[in-house]
Amino acid sequence: MEVKPPGLAPLPIWRDFKDLQEWETHHRRRPETGDKHSSAFEAITDGIHAFPGGFVVTAAADTFLNWARKSSVWPVTFGLACCAIEMMATFASRFDVERLGMVPWASPRHADLMIVSGTVTIKMAPMLTRIYDQMPDPKWAVSMGSCANSGGPFRHGYHVVKGVDRVIPVDVYVPGCPPPPESLLNGLLLLQEQIAHFRRTGQRAAPSAKVD
């Protein structure tokens, strides 16, 4: 059996780590259905579907509810780094997000949207998942800036998570370093469209298992 001298072993990549696979499977075992309505409401809609043409009623109800959710998405003020300053500029009077019904809120308990603006470091990642978990459902996440999208200019840093979608499921990615307020607004409008036809089961982007 050929013994490999120490130090020559290839750099272990993340797939070899046993605990990482459990972490991935745990993360993917999120209950997928029932992310949109309570079980009682979905029982009612199933009942309505039994009648011929019931879809017309539920479709109309869905569009109304989605319109209500779309037009008052409250972001939690979660500024990490440089993109937070651009996020503040977007919240301020010139590029006002309150026109879109978004009231920046400090506590995750009252928020529907988390804009991850800045570099997610390994020390910050557990805090970020805790705050994302503490937000009531249904909730969305926008990854703002190339640091949050993929680690950005600090991708090769030892302390940087290579993109926030390894930690929480992300709905809209806004490119830029930092993205100017206009492109963040564009991202938020895209999010609103996504919410507008938020399908019944609320299927959402699972955290992507990127490999590099």
Binding site: A81, M88, A92
Partner: protein, 400 residues
């Protein structure tokens, strides 16, 4: 946890400046509550976590936890070449990107003894002073929003200040093309020249900002809420200020007239006439007054530059073709810049290759934040918010 904080709070509240009379309250049996003013907090100005030990409303111990935005700047500094790193250098102090890039570029130029044309030096001073105005606007806005209730509905001053900041960012956008993080500086000079009509746009913006600064002072100076919240709060004595190594408006607010632009002039600052505003009280109000005076000094300098901008090239080196094109000879130096938050320095050790051997970034906010555990004990939780805002930390520079 409490025992370690006692060693921090062993420093008695600084004598000298008339701190608020703190009556010893003989609590019988009230335990200490340990609480997180954590990474995600409206007034933490970024990702800073203070573990506060409270006795009722009074803070008796602070354990500052930083590192939530540690992006390996110094390690990347050793693995990126002199041409690549300036684009990340502006992300250390991302609210004042122009001055943080300048420190790195000046360090490399000083080792390589590269001369910078006069026009490039004037342009560097011009954008540094405009950046100081924009950074102070953001400071005033976020600070007054933190103390929101006291100033008539949280976001009033924030929206005014961001409106002014947008005007300065428009200037930068037409000059460089970017709003917040610029690649304006390069080794040997500057990358962009003033477009046509930029100078008059800059003059109108400067005049407008000077009028607005007067409006802010009318709103804040005689505002009794503001005075109650800031006077006598967070007093830093000169001795504590120097030994901890705070710099910039904090140091000048405690009575030390030290300004790098005057003590160690760089980029032809000696050609401009400007005053170094200093206050004696050392509390939040003194720091506020120093920064408001700096608004006027910055606009004065910008006007002097716009009047006397020399002609000539803007960079003494050819355009960058390849990444390893810039080689700096062996040597080491410490170049420092007077950023809006204080002394931003870059200690560079080069070994002759295209990459630095060691690059230490002296962030102004790192030392400014180090003074908190020495001054916060004895204040109430609401004062912690006011002190944090007056220190104005930027966490790209603290955690590097």
């Amino acid at each position: 946890m409490a025992s370690r904080n006692d060693s921090l709070t062993a420093a008695t509240p600084p004598a000298g400046a008339p701190a608020r009379a703190i009556r010893e309250i003989d609590y019988t049996g009230s335990e200490r509550l340990t609480m997180n003013m954590g990474p995600q907090h409206p007034s933490s100005h970024g990702v800073f976590r203070a573990v506060l030990t409270l006795e009722g409303e009074t803070v008796v111990g602070v354990d500052a936890v930083i590192g939530y935005l540690h992006r390996c700047h110094e390690k990347l500094g050793e693995s990126l070449t002199y041409v690549q790193y300036p684009s990340i250098a502006s992300k250390t102090d991302y609210v004042a990107a122009m001055t943080s890039e300048l420190a790195y570029v000046m360090a490399a130029e000083r080792i390589g003894a590269i001369d910078i044309p006069r026009r490039a030096q004037y342009l560097r001073v011009l954008v540094a002073e405009l950046q100081r105005i924009a950074s102070h606007c953001l400071w005033l806005g976020t600070w007054c929003m933190d103390m929101g209730g006291a100033l008539g509905g949280g976001a009033t001053i924030f929206l005014y200040c961001i409106r002014e900041r947008e005007l300065v960012l428009d200037l930068f956008e037409s000059l460089v093309g970017a709003r917040l993080l610029y690649g304006f500086h390069q080794i040997g000079g500057v990358r962009y020249d003033l477009p046509a009509g930029w100078a008059d746009q800059c003059r109108t913006t400067i005049d407008l900002i000077e009028k607005r600064v007067v409006e802010y002072e009318e709103m804040l100076d005689e505002n009794t809420f503001f005075q109650m919240r800031t006077q006598g709060v967070g007093v830093i004595s000169r001795e504590v200020a120097e030994t901890v190594g705070i710099s910039g408006p904090l140091l000048r607010g405690s009575g030390v007239p030290f300004d790098i632009r005057r003590a160690d002039p760089y980029c032809s600052y000696e050609d401009f006439a400007f005053a170094v505003p200093t206050e004696e009280a050392g509390d939040c109000f003194a720091r506020y007054r120093v920064r408001m005076a700096e608004f006027r000094q910055a606009t004065a300098i910008v006007r002097q530059i716009l009047d006397g901008l020399p002609e000539g090239p803007i960079s003494s080196r050819p355009g960058v073709k390849s990444v390893v094109q810039v080689r700096i000879p062996k040597g080491e130096t410490y170049a420092r810049v007077e950023g809006p938050r204080g002394e931003v320095g870059c200690y560079l050790v080069s070994d002759g290759g295209p990459k630095p051997y060691r690059m230490k970034w002296r962030g102004a906010s790192f030392s400014n934040l180090a003074v908190l555990p020495h001054i916060i004990p004895g204040h109430s939780v609401a004062d912690v918010v006011a002190i944090m805002g007056s220190v104005d930390p930027v966490f790209g520079e603290v955690d590097r």
